[in-house]
């Protein structure tokens, strides 16, 4: 790392935190503030509590160290540096194309991520807000994905139970919406499957003829 420049952040509850430049730059908001000349004194973060900022800094530090080690094992280029690399890790990549070290790094990262985001709802939602305010895309995606995973596949009643939400529909309103929702709308998977089946000619003309000849028996 070129410079060992350090910045000081202050939370809404008065606590201060010192972080390196590379860690600070993970947040686009902080990066912009520094580039606009506000880095000499304390950088105030009135919307973030110390409890949450600790978590955020933990994420940023991991992000930086992960990027450094990925540069060593693969030919990571500047593209990897942006926060989208978290999302890319999730996409399926054939195991053998990475060598052993790289594989281990990815595994470790996945485990770290799972532990990191295993938090109660209050912390999760505060983290989500902080990631949005501080403009840290990877953290925002991770937190939003965790919240979405708590919704996916559940019935309305189950979702309400998970989040303690009150059902404020009248029975008539509820029925009305439910009926309107049952419309002709495919998921991406259904769409692809149907398109493939339309294109898929189960037997070739030759095969079909062959089978017909072999199986000539009266239907009626």
């Amino acid at each position: 790392m070129a410079s060992a420049k350090v910045f000081v952040l202050r939370t809404c509850d008065g606590e201060t935190f010192e972080i390196d430049e590379s860690v600070a730059y993970v947040s686009e908001t902080i990066k912009n503030m520094i580039e606009d000349g506000f880095g000499h004194d304390l950088i105030p973060l009135p919307n973030v509590s110390s409890k949450i900022l600790l978590k955020v800094i933990e994420y940023c530090r991991k992000h930086v160290s992960n990027f450094e080690s990925s540069k060593k094992t693969s030919n990571g280029d500047e593209k990897d540096k942006d926060n989208d690399s978290w999302k890319k890790e999730k996409e399926a990549v054939p195991e053998v194309e990475k060598d052993a070290e790289e594989k281990a790094r990815v595994e470790e990262l996945k485990e770290w991520e799972t532990t990191f985001i295993d938090i109660d709802q209050q912390v999760l939602f505060d983290l989500l807000q902080a990631a949005n305010y501080l403009n840290i895309k990877g953290l925002l995606v991770m937190a939003a994905e965790k919240a979405a995973s708590m919704i996916r596949g559940k019935t309305p009643e189950q979702i309400r139970e998970t989040f303690n939400i009150k059902n404020d529909f009248t029975p008539e309103e509820y029925e009305d919406i439910r009926k309107k929702d049952a419309m002709n709308d495919f998921t991406p998977e259904e769409y692809e499957e149907i398109r493939k089946k339309i294109a898929d000619n189960h037997f070739t003309p030759e095969e079909y003829e062959q089978i017909r000849k072999e199986n000539a028996w009266a239907i009626e």
């Binding site: 195991e95 949005n132 309400r160 939400i165 919406i177 002709n184």
Partner: protein, 619 residues
């Protein structure tokens, strides 16, 4: 209330939108969210970004509904070929069988590709013709454009009533349009010109089967949004000629993808694109009148080329492929289909020059033989997908080299390769241990020995298809069952396979999702019950022409594999209406059953008429 409702008190609406976007438009989850509480209903409606619909009885009214309900939609896909989903019956007609598009004959010299599924029912074809007046009209499209001003992707597939009028309003109202797909629509030049004038961010354009377009329209579009265009697809547009391509070559300098299927394009056009679009990444040509001259130009100017696909009786010779091999060092994917004049020299040149080659398909190129493939095996260590179709001249030693050199091979597809036998497959199995997909069809020299080797060596295999390989028997499947956990299995027509083989696979593949055992005369109820026991995730099953299976086996299967969504069982003499009824009642997710009409009782027809497809007797 036990706990606090944090999600609604702590998070602002934008954060809820962000969370809902991660549901990926999964309809069931989105629908559930809209029923949680009033706030979530409002936000869910606001956060919907994508709408995908098929044919519906009154698409114009339907679009009005969508526009009122979801105001932030960015992507709309309307495909008039797709039938309405069975469970949703609001008096909509249920269409089974071929898409209404069959009235337009697809230009194809390749007799092997047929657009119409063979089990088509003549009734549904005439029924669907009657429905044509009900496809999306210009008025509907205007409503859509009005309602979704921030539209980014619009796909109108076979919407035959849409004309330039509708497209013009899209152009004027949806200036952020990035992707436009007008497959099979009769749009005219004014529509395209309007797009060129207004949609300066257009990146992706698909004009397949847009028979109403002429050069005028495309030239205007190229002039208007040439700077942003990255991908263009043209097929069977009789009035689009080299003139359009010359305009593309001069205005679309950032073009990356070009897909051309037309006998009206000649060398001049392709040359212009090659010269003008040096960032060309993907090139697919099915143009019978294009020759070496054009491809040589590609081989001179397009050094960024990564994907090259040449289809259907092209007249290219080794000269152009050698030029490609020399210059296009980044080539990753090559498809050569029916290129009669190409010989081993072409593949050798590609092998020498394109070391990063990852995908290769050779289809019916009768002058390419073993030597060409050997060269690939020796020089392309990154090869991950190989398909050899109708390659009678390629022999075992070709696959020896592939097995030795291509350790990263994941997918192998062999169709009608009569000279490839067990030894070749053994070599592949031992050399390419990362094999995930193996498809073999009508390769009569391949038998148990080769497949046993696969079972012993390829632990990652999940997709196996052995169709009409009459030397493959139970021993092969037993080895597969012991070594691999499959998700897809197709052994249609391998008539030596019986219960023992299937039972072994059923025991070894708990994640099996797709099973095709059609035309297996020796398969009986025992196998079906083992599949029921061992494969609870099964979604699709094909049992047609299995003469020995009866209602008993079928019932056992249906009761255990409750997730089955489709079941084909025609020409099974011992399956009766009782069996059909059991399938329909036990499989709660069932979406399609193909069976003889007379095997369906009145009661079953009443319960599940919409999901039943009948074998057409007149064929």
């Amino acid at each position: 209330m036990r706990g606090q409702d944090l999600i609604n008190t702590v998070l602002p609406d934008e954060m809820l939108v962000e969370i809902f976007c991660h549901l990926d438009g999964l309809k069931s989850s989105c629908d559930s969210c809209s029923l949680v509480c009033k706030k979530w209903l409002k936000i869910e409606r606001l956060s919907r970004r994508t709408v995908r619909i098929g044919a519906s009885r009154n698409p114009d009214a339907f679009v009005k509904l969508l526009v009122q309900r979801f105001v932030n939609v960015r992507n709309v896909y309307i495909d008039e070929r797709l039938p309405v989903s069975p469970p949703f019956q609001f008096g909509y007609p249920i269409i089974h069988g071929p898409p209404p598009a069959t009235k337009k004959r697809r230009y194809s010299k390749n007799a092997r590709s047929s657009l119409e599924p063979l089990h088509a029912s003549k009734d549904s074809r005439s029924e669907s013709r009657d429905l044509e007046p009900f496809s999306l009209s210009d008025a509907g499209l205007v409503t859509l454009a009005d309602g979704f001003a921030r539209l980014e992707k619009l796909s109108l597939v076979w919407c035959s009533n849409v004309t330039s009028v509708g497209i013009k309003s899209v152009a004027e109202k949806c200036k952020s349009l990035k992707t436009l797909d007008l497959q099979g629509c009769y749009v005219g030049d004014q529509g395209l010109a309007a797009i060129g004038e207004c949609c300066k961010q257009l990146e992706d354009l698909n004009l397949r089967f847009c028979e109403g377009l002429t050069d005028t329209g495309l030239v205007e579009l190229a002039r208007g949004c040439g700077k942003s265009l990255k991908a263009i697809g043209i097929a069977v547009c009789a009035k689009i000629t080299d003139i359009s391509l010359e305009a593309v070559g001069s205005h679309c300098t950032l073009l990356q993808t070009l897909s051309l299927d037309s006998e009206f394009i000649q060398n001049k056009g392709v040359l212009a694109v090659a010269r003008g679009c040096s960032s060309l990444n993907v090139l697919k040509l099915q143009c019978i009148n294009v020759t070496d001259e054009a491809l040589l130009a590609v081989g001179t100017f397009c050094s960024s080329l990564e994907l090259l696909a040449l289809y259907s009786f092209q007249r290219f010779t080794d000269r152009s492929l050698c030029a490609i091999g020399n210059v296009c060092k980044k080539l990753k994917s090559l498809t050569l289909s029916d290129c009669y004049f190409l010989s081993d020299k072409s593949l050798e040149a590609i092998a020498t020059g394109c070391g990063e080659l990852a995908q290769l398909e050779v289809n019916g190129c009768h002058n390419i033989g073993t030597a060409g493939l050997e060269a690939i095996g020796r020089s392309c260590p990154g090869l991950s997908e190989l398909a050899l179709l109708y390659c009678q001249r390629i022999g075992n030693s070709a696959l020896f080299e592939v097995g030795r050199g291509c350790k990263l091979l994941q997918a192998l597809n062999l169709v009608d390769c009569s000279n490839i036998g067990d030894d070749a497959i053994c070599n592949i199995a031992q050399g390419c241990r990362n094999l995930k997909k193996l498809h073999i069809r009508r390769c009569y020299e391949i038998g148990d020995k080769g497949i046993i080797a696969v079972g012993e060596n390829c632990k990652f295999l999940t997709d196996l298809s052995l169709r009409f390989c009459d030397r493959v028997g139970d021993a092969a499947l037993i080895a597969i069952g012991q070594g691999c956990s499959l998700r897809y299995l197709n052994v249609s027509g391998c008539h030596q396979i019986g219960d023992a083989g299937l039972i072994a696979v059923a025991r070894g593949s708990p994640e099996l999702v797709y099973l095709d055992v059609s035309v297996l005369q020796n398969l009986g109820d025992m196998a079906l019950s083992e599949v029921g026991e061992g494969c609870p995730l099964l979604k699709d099953i094909v049992l047609s022409h299995c003469r020995q299976i009866t209602d008993v086996g079928l019932a056992y299967l249906a009761k255990k594999c409750t997730r089955i969504e489709s079941c084909h069982m025609v020409y099974c003499p011992f399956i009766t209406s009782a069996g059909v009824a059991t399938v329909v009642s036990s499989c709660v997710n069932i979406k399609k059953v193909l069976v003889e009409k007379w095997k369906v009782s009145q009661r079953t027809r009443r319960r599940a008429g919409s999901i039943l497809s009948y074998l057409c007797m007149d064929l």
